[in-house]
């Protein structure tokens, strides 16, 4: 196909009778160029719809003001709120953002990280795929670019990490259930414990302990896949227990919604007979009846905070490689809805 080719600095320079460097500087508002010249150049550039060649710029400069973001799953509601926080903050700081997803595959994650290196991003924000075990690949990235982990993290990796205080969040949820009179509180959790999952489980255990409620192993349900379907399956099992739970805490909303569906099907009154609390305030949580109580994680704030720390690291020009890394824990809040509301 035949399309118009792009206007270059050379053409503008030729038309106006300036040199290429004068035109380049004029368009970048350089102090060496007179206001008169700047105005002339800018007008002609606009008229010709001049657009700088990004590759030539990237080739010549080492800093492109691009941030790379890699997340396990883009369509996950909570992830999209974090990305929104990143994008909003990036805009205020004059950075562009490239987002890609690793589809919870370590191989894809590495591919995406390498793509970010190829784009010569200034820094990388990474939410780890659940199956990340070998951190060497991540350390290799850390050698080359500033990196901040957010949401799904790993303490082995020596860099700044922005997380939800999952332990406290789970603790609050269990405390709330106890406060409305529940004592046999089940947890639906992951079999293979990620860092986040472990934290939530710890919060569950601690809350029970603090309120002198004995831990019943039968109430601890584990599944590989914290999905709606699994939530249904686990709920089906839970309600057949001789001493069944009077509350369910699921570490994802999908799982919690699956549980609600089964309880509804079995005409079990929510929250009177069994209360349900989920985690992460998905869009579905207000669709399901009764509406789901859930941990609200301030995704926008997490995203913004992650980028803030990354930019701070990018723009800190020191030769000391031993930059202290931090773990920043962000508070969440419990939204009490009908699924656990008892007066």
């Amino acid at each position: 196909m035949k399309k118009k080719s792009n206007v270059t600095l050379k053409e503008i320079a030729k038309i106006l009778g300036f040199s290429i460097s004068t035109v380049s500087r004029a368009l970048r508002d350089h102090v060496d160029i007179s206001d008169e010249t700047k105005a002339i150049v800018e007008q002609k550039a606009k008229e010709l719809n001049y657009m700088p060649n990004m590759f030539a710029q990237g080739f010549r400069s080492s800093r492109m003001h691009i941030i790379g973001v890699v997340v396990p799953k883009l369509s996950h509601y909570f992830t999209s709120t974090m990305i929104e926080g990143i994008l909003d903050y990036a805009e205020t700081k004059g950075y562009r953002v490239i987002v890609s997803e690793s589809k919870n595959s370590v191989e894809k994650q590495n591919q995406m990280l390498n793509t970010m290196l190829q784009f010569n991003v200034d820094g990388i924000l990474l939410s780890l795929t659940r199956k990340t075990a070998n951190v060497q690949d991540i350390l290799n990235i850390l050698d080359r670019k500033p990196l901040v982990l957010f949401d799904k993290v790993m303490s082995k990796i020596p860099c700044t990490q922005i997380i939800i205080d999952g332990k406290q969040a789970a603790y609050n949820a269990i405390e709330h259930l106890i406060n409305i009179g529940k004592r046999r509180i089940a947890i639906f959790k992951e079999t293979e414990n990620s860092f986040n999952s472990e934290q939530r489980f710890e919060g569950y255990l601690k809350a029970l302990k603090d309120y002198n409620i004995p831990i019943d192993e039968k109430l601890i349900f584990s599944t590989e896949d914290i999905s709606l379907e699994k939530g249904e399956q686990l709920a089906q099992i839970a309600i057949t227990l001789k001493q069944r739970p009077d509350a369910i805490f699921a570490i994802t909303d999908s799982c919690a919604i699956g549980a609600i569906k089964i309880l509804n099907k079995n005409n079990i009154k929510i929250p009177e007979e069994i209360a349900v609390v989920g985690f992460s305030n998905s869009a579905h949580s207000t669709i399901i009846e009764p509406n789901l109580s859930t941990i609200n994680q301030p995704g926008h704030l997490i995203g913004k905070t992650a980028l803030k720390y990354l930019i701070e690291e990018i723009e800190t020009d020191n030769n000391n490689d031993f930059q202290s890394s931090k773990t920043v824990e962000i508070k969440s809040s419990l939204i009490v809805r009908d699924s656990s509301f008892i007066v």
Copy 2:
């Protein structure tokens, strides 16, 4: 901060005693380079973790095998299915994809389109923002890069367009409602008619006409914002009509779900008293009770088809600018669930 700098062809060439062009050709499997040399170079490149400078490559080459995609809203479920189709097909054809969203703002759409030009993408897939009126900006893009419109389109723009046969889809939905005995079928639609919205409305009108059902203006509800909340509001009004509808067809799932919520609240039996059908098979459609009947649009196929036509246009090397554009209509299907299931 201090990070390792990237290895270049020059360094590899120096270490191995070859020239830069030999190393470059070896890594690109060029016919002029012997197998022995290729093996030596590839091994050393891997050892040194060589990564080509994307900017240098882009600078030197005119074709980067990158596709730009601009959509109104990324988190919209249906959009994500189309993007998945695009990404999957791109992978098989060896293209990379840059996705951005215009947030239903014409200004942002133009910004994103210009960003795509700056990235020197080979071609652009665009789903128009609803408020697009002035097509000159799009025509300017069309002058410079191959462009295919998909999902939200505009017949004024002379390029290939991939769409759902919305008219037929709506027709099928209305026909289904008629076939289960419904006669007073309301439609919840947009006030400001986009092309897609118009098509669905036409399908609604045509189906009523074909089945000799008089059109009742009172059953045509329009709203600026086809959201869950608006769906609730319109449903609230609909059920107070002297002669209320016995079915509701909403042109989005969100709207339909809002309607269901209100009907549930008012103890109106779905679908016996009032049946409900939505459009686009969102994730919510199986969460709401009763589960929602809805038009399933094959997003994956739309995305794949759009990219297929675009790549065809990119890779057609002819000097004839008058390339015929086509409109490709893709069929949808109606998923009948509990909200309109009557035996």
